[in-house]
């Protein structure tokens, strides 16, 4: 049985199985059987999708089931569009989390921050504080600037709050964002699609 590209990539993910194929000839069924013995037993693979362009290429995120840590991210051989391939950006998804095993990318934001008026810096705050304060700001601005009606027509909006973003959000997130904003009467709703 000739080896397909998909099978080859799947075998490659089973590391040493690649060596096996050379020994056993390009018969993937035999290689698979051998590879079972060498499979990384504690790696779990989770299907995800590349967050970059709109091709929607499939990716597989491998994690260590013992520690939960991300081991690497590669193209998904089962995905019909990219069949395991990835461009340089897709191939770097791993670094969005770790720049090396056990080494999270220090540029990632990991705590809520606040910058006061006129200040030269951010300070760390808690989520509870941030959410409470943000909600207060939204309410204060909304209440102060809310327009109930114009020329006898109910308009129920505020023209002083804007919401920008975002083309990298999930569908469910975009849905809830427009829902919440419209529930508040925000009409300045825009994002990358108009750019």
């Amino acid at each position: 049985m000739a080896i397909t590209r998909r099978d080859f990539l799947k075998l490659s993910a089973l590391s040493t199985a690649v060596l096996m194929t050379a020994e056993l000839g390009l018969d993937s069924s035999k290689a698979y059987a051998q590879a079972q013995k060498y499979r990384i037993k504690t790696a779990k693979k989770t299907p995800t999708l590349c967050p970059f362009c709109s091709a929607g290429c499939g990716m597989l995120a491998y994690t260590d089931t013992k520690t939960g840590e991300l081991l690497y991210v590669v193209g998904d051989p089962d995905h019909p569009v990219n069949r395991g391939g990835a461009c340089s950006k897709g191939a770097s998804i791993y670094q969005i989390r770790n720049i090396a095993p056990g080494n999270p990318n220090p540029k990632r934001l990991t705590k809520p921050l606040y910058r006061a008026p006129g200040s030269r810096e951010f300070k760390e705050v808690t989520w509870d504080w941030a959410i409470a304060e943000i909600a207060k700001r939204i309410k204060e601005t909304r209440d102060k600037t809310f327009i109930k009606s114009e020329e006898g027509i109910p308009v129920m909006r505020t023209d002083q709050i804007a919401c920008l973003g975002g083309a990298a959000l999930d569908n469910e997130e975009t849905y809830l964002l427009q829902k919440l904003m419209r529930g508040l009467g925000v009409v300045y709703i825009e994002h990358q699609a108009r750019l």
Binding site: T46, P51, F52, S88, L113, F122, E150, C163, E173, Q178
Partner: protein, 790 residues
């Protein structure tokens, strides 16, 4: 995309214009190469620059940025004059035979109905001619001089090969070869695809540029067939979804207009009356809109209160709420607060210096992202600000990465695909979903005791996703699909939606992705029975899992495929329905006895593809017309109207003149970086590949300027100046435009002052000037000067 990514393998000719897919959508190369190898497909690349895509193309045609309507127009003219179009397709499936209003005319760059004072058109003459019974008058022979067909020919007769090449700067022999090669796709059994991206849309005439593609494809019979279509290559992993879900001031979900504070929308009845066409599939709009209102307010929305219509915000009729309008109004101090979910205006622009100044007027800003962006630090010295003078409160919330949460995204091919969570969010970062959820719960708490009528909308907002910190995403997905409130079950798809309040649905075009059977966006079946690359059971494509839109047009007026090699669906006389490889984009039971049998374009009121776009659907003309970009080095050679006559010019004083700023500039992307840069300039591997900002200039211009690769130069215009390294290449050559040599320069726009590597921001140079219909900024085709830095 009307088609989708894998479908590219079915094409015989790809016309890639205003896009560089081998750079920015690399997987497209996989499928185009397969088309090349397996079916001898030709690849044509039309671009101001010789790009990575051009390097693999069979034909490369240079063009001056902003002259795409002329380029496509010349192709249309040649095809019409030499009768290379698909006669049967055009006669039967387009509005070619329709007669046009007696008073419609076009003269010297202007259509009938122009008001020079208001700078807008009255559309009443842009319509069909009706007979005494009110029916559209037609001439099936297409010979009547007032048919759409003859008017189209007349309109494009000015786009001669010579004139077009003078405008675009394309060498004549190359231009003719492009036309002749692409025109071959009108033959039965052949199909051609047009692939475009921001190079086609980021212009003051961007909408009409895309219209041109549609006209060309209709003439060649390329709509609705495998390897055909008009295919937008979108820029972000879920910009398709974010657009589908109405994160735009003028749309709610599913491309339905947001209500405006005007009499026509004063109540639900008036709104539905004015927004619902009498014919075509959009006649179902009330079902979708009412179901949306039910999703907004659930059981608080009833027949007695217009389903909560009066709680929904109505925007002011005269205010401009688009992105540029927003920043202009912010610059005037008209906004207090801004939330940003993964957006970075300081780098994304346009006119970044102005945007930075405008942001200082905010009282508060909430920015959600994975990284510290330039916008989050707009108040710093790095940004060019004085922190002591900026009173804006800035809240920064850390967001989880794509693989640290689950949810669905929609690719450019309309495939709604689920992705699962692989690891917990890093540190205290949270999924945007949970952040929005927490804000909603907190706000509802704050408003819970209010008795004020203006607080009804937020109190009554239906938010049923659990009361913990984690939003129940399954409930969100189910709501988006839609629920039959009489049974509590998921609707099968949008055909079950009703306008009587018995159904709710978050987004009608997605309805069908999560029926009772389960979340179809999670499907991973490998079968492709037709071999066309449709993969009907891999995830779910909207609408209704149709993979090729307008696929009715792949069959002739008798219901038989035009050609077996391009078959998608066909009429089955025994079963009395449409069957085939794809879900019919057509009511399956409409048979040969029904006049609608030959109306493949079901979203249009008349069911035909529009060569002539009636009723001001595009506000600057029923036909595309070439006008020069706002900042242009030359006079318009086609008419005495220099620029699009209805564009809004926000800052006329910022118009850069050709005497001081002689070079045409474009912004572009590189494969190794992404958009405003935060997602790639913080990754060591990507930074290693492209570490620096540059301006790309051609060898001839470099010699004129006395500059070599690596030298520092200033790129400047009326809006700003940036100091960057020159990158001298063979890829940008000057063009002969009406006898004069004109240079073009290119700027990647990914850089800013944050990240592992930093660089100057190209968008300091781009204008506050947008498309006549959409307001998308004219990022391509503006003027700059380039000079040595020393």
């Amino acid at each position: 995309m009307t088609n989708h990514w894998i479908d590219l393998k079915n094409t015989d000719c790809a016309l890639i214009i205003g896009a560089n897919p081998f750079e920015n959508h690399p997987v497209s190369a996989k499928w185009l190469m397969e088309a090349k190898v397996k079916r001898g497909a030709k690849i044509i690349s039309v671009d101001p620059r010789f790009t990575r895509t051009s390097s693999k193309a069979d034909l490369y045609a240079p063009l001056r940025a902003g002259t795409d309507i002329a380029f496509i127009g010349g192709m249309i003219n040649y095809i019409l004059e030499n009768e290379l179009y698909d006669h049967e397709y055009v006669a039967n499936y387009t509005n070619a035979s329709f007669l046009v209003h007696d008073d419609y005319k076009f003269e010297d760059g202007l259509f009938s109905g122009y008001d020079p004072k208001e700078r807008k058109y009255d559309f009443s003459t842009w319509d069909y001619k009706k007979n005494e019974k009110g029916e559209i008058a037609k001439d099936p022979t297409l010979k009547n001089p007032r048919t759409v067909f003859q008017l189209l020919k007349q309109h494009y007769s000015r786009y001669t090969i010579d004139k077009v090449c003078e405008i675009t700067g394309t060498p004549k022999e190359i231009y003719l070869e492009v036309i002749k090669t692409f025109a071959q796709t009108s033959q039965k059994g052949k199909s051609g695809t047009i692939m475009y991206a921001m190079g086609g849309t980021q212009h003051s005439c961007g909408s009409q540029i895309v219209r041109s593609y549609a006209i060309l494809q209709l003439l060649l019979g390329n709509m609705g067939v495998p390897g055909g279509g008009v295919n937008a290559l979108r820029g972000e992993s879920n910009v398709q979804g974010s657009t589908d879900f109405g994160l735009l001031n003028n749309n709610i979900t599913g491309y339905i207009n947001t209500p405006i504070a005007q009499l026509e929308h004063k109540d639900l009845k008036a709104y539905l009356e004015s927004e619902t066409p009498k014919t075509g599939f959009w006649n179902n709009k009330p079902k979708f809109f009412v179901s949306y209102l039910k999703a907004m307010y659930f059981d608080k929305a009833t027949k007695d209160n217009e389903f909560g219509y009066q709680w929904f915000p109505k925007r002011h009729a005269k205010k401009n709420y688009t992105y540029i309008g927003l920043f202009e109004n912010l610059a005037k101090g008209e906004l207090e607060g801004m939330l940003l979910f993964g957006q970075n205006p300081i780098v994304g622009g346009p006119n970044s210096n102005r945007e930075r100044e405008a942001l200082k007027n905010l009282k508060w800003m909430v920015a959600v992202d994975l990284w510290m962006t330039e916008t989050m630090r707009f108040w710093t010295e790095d940004a060019g600000s004085n922190p002591a003078e900026v009173q804006t409160e800035v809240f920064v919330l850390p967001a989880a990465a794509s693989f640290e949460k689950q949810g669905s995204i929609a690719s450019s091919g309309r495939w709604i695909q689920w992705r699962w969570k692989a690891v917990e969010p890093l540190g205290q970062s949270k999924a945007d979903l949970d952040i929005i959820h927490l804000l909603a719960l907190e706000l509802k708490k704050l408003y819970a005791q209010s008795q004020k009528p203006e607080d009804e909308p937020i109190k009554n907002l239906y938010w049923n996703y659990g009361n913990t910190n984690e939003c129940d995403i399954d409930r969100v997905a189910r709501e988006i699909n839609g629920i039959d409130l009489t049974t509590g079950k998921q609707v099968e798809n949008f055909l079950q939606l009703a306008d009587d309040g018995s159904t709710l649905c978050g987004n009608w075009i997605y309805s069908g992705f999560y029926p009772e059977a389960g979340n179809l966006a999670q499907r991973r079946e490998q079968d492709d029975p037709s071999g066309l690359g449709l993969y009907p059971k891999w995830t779910y494509a909207w609408p209704l899992n149709r993979r090729i839109l307008y696929n009715r047009a792949s069959a002739d007026p008798t219901g038989k495929p035009w050609h077996p090699d391009k078959a998608v669906i066909w009429w089955d006389e025994t079963q009395k329905k449409w069957v085939g490889h794809d879900v019919p984009d057509f009511k399956a039971i409409i048979g040969p006895d029904d006049p609608a049998f030959v109306n493949p374009f079901i979203m249009q009121t008349d069911g035909k593809g529009w060569l002539f776009a009636p009723q001001g659907k595009l506000k600057d003309g029923p036909f595309p017309e070439h006008y020069e970009p706002w900042e242009s080095p030359v006079q318009n050679l086609l008419s005495s109207v220099q620029n699009n006559p209805i564009i809004k010019v926000w800052r006329p004083e910022e118009q850069s003149d050709v005497q001081n700023y002689p070079y045409v500039a474009i912004t572009y992307r590189v494969s190794e970086h992404w958009q405003a840069g935060a997602m790639t300039r913080n990754l060591p591997w990507q930074v290693e590949l492209v570490p620096e900002m540059f301006v790309e200039i051609g060898e001839e211009l470099a010699q004129e300027l006395g500059v070599k690769s690596g030298d520092e130069v200033i790129v400047e215009n009326k809006r700003g100046a940036i100091k960057v390294k020159a990158y001298v290449t063979k890829r940008m050559k000057p063009l002969m435009v009406n006898g004069i040599k004109r240079h073009q320069v290119g700027l990647p726009w990914h850089f800013g002052f944050q990240g592992l590597v930093t660089g100057e921001t190209a968008n300091k140079l781009t204008p506050y000037l947008g498309d006549a219909n959409t307001m998308i900024p004219e990022y391509k085709g503006f003027l700059v000067n380039v000079r040595r830095a020393k």
